[in-house]
Symmetry: C2
Subunit: 137 residues, 2 copies
Amino acid sequence: MSTAKPFARSACAVANSLDIVGDKWSLLVVRDLLHGKSTYGELADSPEHIPTNILAERLRRLEAAGIITGTPYQKRPVRYAYALTPKGKALGDVLLAFVRWGRQHIPGTMVMDQRPANGGSAAKATATRRTRKARAK
Amino acid sequence: MSTAKPFARSACAVANSLDIVGDKWSLLVVRDLLHGKSTYGELADSPEHIPTNILAERLRRLEAAGIITGTPYQKRPVRYAYALTPKGKALGDVLLAFVRWGRQHIPGTMVMDQRPANGGSAAKATATRRTRKARAK
DNA sequence: CCTTATAGCTTGCATAATGCAAGTAACTAG
DNA sequence: CTAGTTACTTGCATTATGCAAGCTATAAGG
């Protein structure tokens, strides 16, 4: 009970948070899930274009960390709908802090809120998923 | 004017913030500077023990990003006292969001506020800097 | 039946970041 | 003159990231 040394670096809340989401991609996945996305394809289709191997690995890590859950919405082949747990949704405050900081201190950045929102006129709302080689025509 | 493509991944404020501080160490350096530390040795002495090559590289990157400034407090050999710019201080809100999230969702974590604070009874408040080989006595 | 297409991953590397250990420069104390 | 200290730099091994391609299961078109 007293020999527990469960912290990789220190007991600091910031350090341990960074050990979970302290990389360039994890919080973007959380952002997309907060914005209503849920499938692998939707997450892969975000403007930053996360490499698919990294997306798969992050989904595993975030699920192991209790930040997301994957619920099968289809079997043969099994497909998962990913959703945030309460722990994951709570990261919204961190996202919000980043948005505020970025908008104030990185010129040109903006909030990317691509939810369906109004009546279906949102840009790319009905666009097909971008394939590896977008063969036009 | 319209051909500008200054964003590495997207115009999203979160993505661009993560391109600057989206790693395991940068925000810890900011945390320590917010806590009143300023010299290289003080930063290297934090409980997480950042490798010195990474600390040197992060100080360069954070200065290039306008988050910290290095002011020489001594020449022959020139030594720098690092301090946060307003842009860097504004990251305090992000740190705070991480602290709140970590404390609520990662059991056992705590706020590491190692400022002198009260009357000198803070743990390790007067401890000497840990050398590479901490030779006790 | 056979080719295309699509969703959702996995695999194979090449490159970049991280981390440990040691080395170096310019001092200060003894 | 030797040892210690601060503030870094350098070398190299390990790990993470990123691009491209492959693979499986299903469906649609001809």
